[in-house]
């Protein structure tokens, strides 16, 4: 089947979504990221793999954290980095996405890192860039955030290397979450046998079980004996309205407290893509507790993004 992310030699051309990527490519990205972990801990953190290349961070939606990690990753690979927050410039002047992209192509950008509030925006841009340009999706609407999904499975693999023997729970606003979708695809592709989602019915998409997950509506049964708890961020504007009555009730029912975490396996790890709402989806005692791997996720995120850019720019062989 046609896959817009692969070139004619079945090599990664764009990273738009985890869905449909072969397991071998996911493993290649994770293994490559492993080699960058060491570099990030050295005194001199730079390698010349992307020297002479230009990475353009094209953000149609505000983000500091994700943009910064992509920027650090590109700079550690010795690329030149261009940051564009389009939401605050061209779009407000009525320029279309394609106009913006074409202008940047004319400036000879090699890799576009794209974030947009519309699902499918990264696919759309990838369809309209020339052969030599690669696109990395840094989050499109509710659809996908593949580097987040990759860094999450990378983190899991570091703490729980036997992926074929894991029970993972994803908790919270799956409906609006591109992170959840990418996590689900990454976990199922890598052979994790049991992926659960735990959320009220208002925060689950239609036919979610067709993504290969088991659905739970309460933490008590959903967290039972899991190895990994992946929390999702709840956006402020969704805390009170037709989806949920209040942040307090949400915390009571789906917030991760030490008591609820105790239902999971004793050595379970806790993850969160950030930024966290303490006291809404997660209790500070858990976020800062011994089982939390939330900060390592951020560190690994840089290695993952370095790996993806390196593979897109032609591999480590060059």
């Amino acid at each position: 089947m046609y896959n817009p992310q692969l070139d004619q030699h079945k090599k990664l051309k764009h990273l738009l979504t985890i869905e449909g990527l072969p397991k071998a490519i996911l493993q290649q990205i994770l293994d490559t990221a492993e080699t960058f972990i060491g570099i990030n801990e050295r005194e001199v953190k730079k390698v010349p793999l992307l020297r002479g290349k230009t990475v353009c961070n094209l953000f149609f939606e505000n983000s500091t954290r994700t943009r910064t990690t992509f920027e650090i990753a590109a700079k550690r690979l010795s690329a030149d980095v261009l940051n564009l927050n389009v939401s605050t410039s061209s779009q407000s002047k009525g320029e279309t996405i394609l106009d913006t992209v074409n202008n940047l192509i004319a400036m000879h950008a090699d890799i576009f890192v794209v974030r947009h509030n519309q699902s499918g925006a990264a696919h759309f841009i990838a369809q309209h860039v020339p052969e030599h340009v690669s696109v990395i999706n840094a989050g499109d609407g509710r659809h996908a955030h593949p580097t987040q999904g990759l860094l999450d499975v990378f983190t899991i693999r570091r703490y729980k290397p036997d992926m074929h023997n894991l029970r993972v729970a994803i908790v919270g606003d799956v409906l609006h979450s591109r992170v959840a979708r990418s996590e689900i695809h990454a976990l199922t592709t890598l052979g994790v046998p049991e992926v659960r989602v735990i959320a009220p019915k208002t925060l689950l998409p239609a036919d979610v079980e067709k993504l290969g997950v088991q659905v739970f509506h309460d933490m008590q049964t959903g967290l039972k004996d899991v190895d990994v708890v992946m929390m999702l961020r709840l956006q402020n504007e969704r805390m009170s309205g037709a989806l949920l009555p209040s942040a307090q009730e949400y915390f009571n029912t789906y917030g991760l407290t030490p008591e609820k975490l105790a239902l999971a396996k004793p050595d379970a790890i806790v993850m969160h893509p950030g930024p966290m709402n303490r006291g809404v989806e997660i209790d500070s005692r858990v976020a800062d507790g011994a089982q939390s791997v939330i900060l390592p996720q951020v560190t690994y995120g840089i290695a993952i993004r370095m790996a993806v850019m390196t593979l897109l720019a032609g591999g480590i062989n060059t």
Binding site: P4, I97, H116, Q118, S119, H123, F124, A206, L211
Partner: protein, 424 residues
Amino acid sequence: MKIHIKNGRLIDPKNKIDAQQDVFIAAGQVVAIGQTPDGFHANQTIDASGMIVAPGLVDLSARLREPGDEYKATLKSELQAAAAGGVTSLACPPDTDPVLDEPGLIEMLKHRAWQHNMARIYPLGALTRNLEGKTLSEMFQLTEAGCVGFTQADNPIVDTQILWRAFEYATTFGYTLFLRPEEPFLANGGAAHDGEVASRLGLKGIPAAAEGLAIASILRIAAETKTKVHLCRLSTAEGVEQVRQAKAKGLQVTADVSAQHLHLTEHDIGFFNANAHLKPPLRSIRDKEALCKGVKDGTIDAICSDHTPVDDDAKLLPFAESEAGATGLELLLPLTLKWAAQHKLPLMDALARITCDAARILGIATGHLSLHAPADIAVFNPEQSWQVMPEQLKSQGKNTPFAGLEMLGKVHFTLLNGHITYQY
């Protein structure tokens, strides 16, 4: 001008004719079928060997984009598309700019279309002023000006009190209401069927129940007010079943489906193909099968093109931001023929859905080839397959989810009122 169409297979569903018969045309009318009338000397003879001679198609919904949206399409381009597709009568919805809610606009549109002389156009007037769902339009005067029915196009009336009054007022004069059933709150912001594909792609969904709820309200009010209702663009299995039951109860209800929805499902969105962004959304395989069954058993009366030309810029956007709709006038016949072949539906029945059945819903006199009927005729090769190349379509809208796909059946001649408007 006298024309003799010879050696063709005449299929006229209304008169239940399917036979090898010549057609003779004079003064814009069908003057004889089979036997050459006395003293008939044709100015032109069309050899229809191997072809089907059928009434010109009647399309229940084609957006011509005039007035106001001429950058998307013009009367000229779209009427040429109609002729190329064998469509000779078409109803056009009022969602233009300005909205077709004044008699003067209707007269102007009809006059301009008449000057082109490529197809008969039957405007559907706005049911409420500016389609805002608040104030009733001048339905009587709009009808005098040429409207054949009233509709809200894609802007449903939210207030059920106003909806009820609109039904009562329209029924006072016996007008038919053309309503696309979609509960606006459930559909709000949605771009795809609320199901597996939308969930995977992260698109906001429109649940099938949005159609079911709207149909339930419409049918309930129609039963109360005795209104003639035509339900436009059914898309769900539930909707088909509701119409089936309503008809069984004897309600004055008819329904149509777009040719797109008989061929495609939510899965055809693929990787965010904006050309598969339609209103109503493409739904599940189960829904598509129910629609097909509905057309076959007559629950769904007609197939329409739902022709909606969209300019490239409005499609060159991420899926949900792109404008919904597909160009369709040139594909209505081949999509119907291909569908009929796939579902083993007799040609006569399939053609009825795009000729006399559609004409009956509009209450117009075309869609058949009775003696002395206007000579609106499509002559087509039913076996000819061709590939859809968007840039070769006459329509200014190149937006089609069928690009590159094989079509079955090609129009060779279209006649309107006895003159040739298209020749292959």
